[in-house]
Symmetry: C2
Subunit: 189 residues, 2 copies
């Protein structure tokens, strides 16, 4: 009987509703909600900053206008896509996060959230790192491969693309905290 009592979700829910761990879980859920809004804003900022980055040189030849746009480099397209997808996901996940504030005892939805968070964390890290690798070459070039650092011409463009990485990496750190907090929440059920 004792075994079935412990395993029975209904009873353990009633039990935990009168324990201090419920308050802690609610606190974690609220923090989760706030961090998600923060990360969504960061990724949105990154996507917009990169997506609107372009620069046209004040001179031109008869056939060529010297102009650079973010989608000249496929990695930056991936960066914008990854940030947009993650931003959309974070906004959608707010509903589930809000649900966890109201119903602190749900476990399955938390596991689902950890799984989705991990995948989105991977996508975001991937986009941010790939873009960072390209930005590095844009700044310093590579003499072995004869890749010229185009930042020596396109100063403004390079500032924009470098700055857009910041929001993305902030969101990466937030995701690590979110996954850790979900682990703690699940353990307290």
């Amino acid at each position: 009987m004792k075994v079935s009592e412990v395993e029975n979700g209904e009873i353990s829910k009633r039990a935990s509703s009168s324990s201090p761990s419920k308050g802690m879980k609610r606190g974690l859920s609220i923090m989760d909600f706030i961090l998600r809004i923060f990360a969504a804003t960061s990724t949105l900022g990154s996507a917009l900053s990169m997506g609107t980055a372009k620069q046209t040189m004040p001179f031109a030849t008869r056939f060529v206008r010297f102009k650079v746009v973010y989608h000249d480099l496929p990695t930056f397209v991936f960066f914008v896509t990854a940030n947009s997808v993650v931003c959309g996901y974070l906004v959608l996940s707010l509903t589930l996060s809000f649900f966890h504030i109201v119903r602190t005892t749900s476990v399955k939805s938390r596991i689902l959230l950890v799984a989705l968070d991990t995948v989105m964390f991977g996508l975001l890290t991937s986009g941010a790192s790939a873009a960072a690798a390209i930005v590095n070459i844009a700044h310093y070039g590579n003499s072995s491969a004869n890749w010229f650092p185009f930042c020596q011409q396109y100063n403004y463009f390079c500032g924009r693309i470098s700055g857009s990485l910041i929001g993305s990496f902030i969101a990466v750190v937030v995701f690590i905290i979110l996954i850790l907090m979900s682990g703690i929440s699940i353990s307290k059920h």
Copy 2:
């Protein structure tokens, strides 16, 4: 009294030791252990494959020998470092994973493992994506930035660096599964 019984780890441990969830947790722990060995082998293979990649051209001028080594590109150095660190971590984490097979009820060590796994997952994804971005340019170049695809000369070297990405991305997928499985294990305590 009921509350304290449910919260008391000792009692819930005794309770769960006679329940089928213990067998499931042990199964998950064993799978965790095997997946870690698999991922460690993958990352080791990636690190070795990239770390030993070099090619010397069969011709040379009086002053220049045409040669390419992985550490000509700083991103590849990061890739090798990230894979080595993650491989070392995975081997060390085997002890904790083995501990979970023996003691299925421990929760705090599982949360620690989720946190470390998440950080290492981020590091590995970062290294793999950055390297992939550079390999992409090495293969196709970029006409807008005037970056020449050096793979047209260094065929063998490019094959090696492209191949070394595979192990890394396999390990990335394994990490997602590991984090998800840890979440399920924690929820069953």
